[in-house]
Amino acid sequence: MKLDLDISKIDKCRECASDIADRIMEQVRNVTTTTCERAVLRLLGVDGVDRAGVPLPNVVVDMAHQAGLLSDGIATYMARAAVSAGLSLQQVAEKVACRQLDLADLGSASCDCDRSAVSGAVAASLGRIRENVAKRREYLSRLDSGTEPLIYVIVATGNIHEDVEQAQSAAKAGADIIAVIRSTAQSLLDYVPYGATTEGYGGTFATQENFRIMRRGLDSVSAETGRYIRLVNYCSGLCMPEIAAMGALERLDMMLNDSMYGILFRDINMKRTFADQYFSRMINAYAGIIINTGEDNYLTTADAYEEAHTVLASQFINEALAHRSGLPDSQIGLGHAFEINPEMKDGFLCEVAQAQMARDIFPNAPLKYMPPTKYMTGDIFRGYLLNGMFNLAGVMTGQSIQLLGMLTEAIHTPHVHDRYLAIKNAKYVFGSARHLGEDVIFRPDGIIQRRAAQVLADTARMLEYVRDQGLMDAMGEGIFAGIARTPDGGRGLDGVVARSERYWNPFEEAMSAQLGLATSSNPSRR
């Protein structure tokens, strides 16, 4: 530990976060959601859209929801329908969609023989995911897997084909990781768009076909350059578990996936979000996908210096909840950001303190470090420099994933050369100051050490308070990013359904078992 932090304070924080997470999990285990069930359908191989363009998983789940069937879990009904009608699961979904089949009409009894009707599909799906894990491992062992901080850049043209070109260009310039930013407000869609898309605002729609296209595009540069290029998308919003499922199937490597982001920044209902993040993270865990949490977002509305402790507090909570979905530390890419006002005297020292603190406290996490955005202006030269100082802080403090800042952050989503320039920036700074962090010792009780100690102390106080209040109520007080949310406010509450005694989710069951988690499929079994 470079910062001589008070270990007992860190332990205290973890203890509080653990209690906080346990209380959330009590609720989570009792409910399912429309998107969780749609994810089950997707994992069962249900795909495509109806004539109105509505994805089949939505059509089926909506009908089941209206019929009050969801509390048992969609899998039960799909199994029963397949058995009774002698159809494949996809055919069941298609028939449901054209109203030739009504899941509510299948009688009520649930028996294990029905369940066996889906076990083939479950095994196939889990097998495909495990194959992806193996393929990734094989790539990483055979190809150059990059040196930390890994270089992470975004593409966001709105057109998946242009995205591929831009991603390939970036990968050749040295990017290790490509994230395809989603179209504005996709997170508020309660379905996942279908097929290859070529129109989007500020980003490109996350669809399974788009995942596939980009994966292929990157694999081909990997082959060409001998470096494994990782792919990222957004597992956030009203469809978290579905996107997790799609990512698992298409071998994404990382997913933006935060336990509270949707609540705070997209005004999604918190019961919904906590349930969705639980299952989506389990899928990510199973698929070997690294999650990226979204603490950086706090600092876009709150002050990075004043509210530094909220970032750390959130990291502890994200970690505790991630553990409960079976994510090992090595897949918990906690987020933080370089967002202190550049005008602040010794601001760089405070940034170093914050980044080093994350490293010291979460030594095994693939920390994801986010660039300056808020204080970026149209002055692209200044922007380039700020990004350079950010890169310096990143390499000095041993960050794992460096999301490169764009000099044009205040102007537009990146142009093809913006990304190139950003990569050159990082390569220079990372190389030229590679061992600076190891070569310096922070002066005991100096500015950096004192700053870190103070943030940790504030965090401990905050987490104790949240534990005492309960997270859901504390969120009502606007403790994160100054944004207040209530347990019954926000979008998507209507998609939250209490689990019945008969609730069954074959993937949750299988993954829990394989991840060594106590299964929670059926609350009675707990």
């Binding site: 390939q168 260009s169 500020g202 997209r266 989503t413 142009h415 050369h417």
Partner: protein
């Protein structure tokens, strides 16, 4: 140094009228001498002379990025430029509130929102929220204002309904995301809606955001537009003064007071 000819202002590097301009752009062609020449030709078409491609980078085979310098042959007649500005006398928090109390005698109601798919609330929050921005209080703290901030991604319909509901004097819209001009379409739709509801002339309609200028706002049928660096007092002073101007227009007997 010789005098600048304001009728023919040219870019300045280190000597009057040297016309120096820097450009940066990519072309979707393979890196090489031909690419450099293409960049040079393009810049010549823009009306630059002595064009120097000072750097060219291969962006992975399909694109080349250039930094170019040249001497611009164009000039601008600065004496003929007219830039519309928001008509407002700058005032501080206290003077604005005093003005509203003294000249209007009632609280001003404003409703504000970040509309459409836009979730960038920081800008409108800066103007409205208690805590304000850059050391200034937001409108919520003005005793003579009643401010309703509807937040992010508010449909235009909701905003209009709220305006009718609260009998708003002013409607404030923030639009940040401008990619592919979504903001323009969205802003225009709001004006249409207000007109359809027949209340366009009852409210002061104000837009703001990093790509909003007063000129653009006027074009789109707004009363005023505010860009980057706007402070809460700018907006409050404008609304207060405009309200008073409006009152005077409708009750001409008060005309003398000004």
């Amino acid at each position: 140094m010789p005098q600048v000819d304001l009728k023919n202002v040219r870019p300045y590097g280190d000597t009057l009228d040297d016309g120096r301009v820097q450009l940066g752009f990519s072309l979707p062609i393979r890196y090489g001498p031909e690419a450099k020449e293409a960049a040079r030709q393009l810049v010549i078409k823009m009306g630059l002379e002595n064009v120097d491609v000072v750097s060219a980078h291969d962006l992975g085979g399909l694109f080349t990025y250039f930094v170019v310098y040249g001497r611009c042959i164009h000039s601008v007649d600065v004496t003929s430029l007219r830039v519309p500005r928001v008509q407002v006398e700058q005032m501080d928090f206290f003077r604005i509130n005093d003005l509203v109390r003294d000249k209007l005698g009632r609280k001003i109601t404003v409703v504000a929102a970040c509309t459409g798919s836009d979730a960038h609330t920081v800008g409108i929050d800066a103007i409205i929220n208690m805590k304000g921005y850059a050391g200034e209080y937001g409108l919520e703290r003005y005793p003579w204002f009643r401010a309703h901030n509807l937040g992010a991604q508010v449909p235009n319909e909701t905003l209009v309904a709220k305006a009718i509901d609260t009998g708003a004097d002013a409607v404030l819209v923030s639009q940040v995301v401008t990619q592919k001009n979504v903001h323009i379409a969205n802003m225009t739709r709001l004006v249409d809606l207000l007109e359809a509801e027949g209340i366009r002339d009852d409210v002061i309609l104000v837009a703001g955001g990093p790509r909003i200028t007063h000129e653009l706002a006027l074009e789109l049928g707004y009363d005023a537009g505010f860009g980057p660096g706007t402070l809460p007092s700018h907006v409050a002073a404008y609304i207060a003064q405009e309200m008073i101007r409006k009152e005077h227009r409708t009750s001409p007997d008060l005309g003398e007071e000004r």
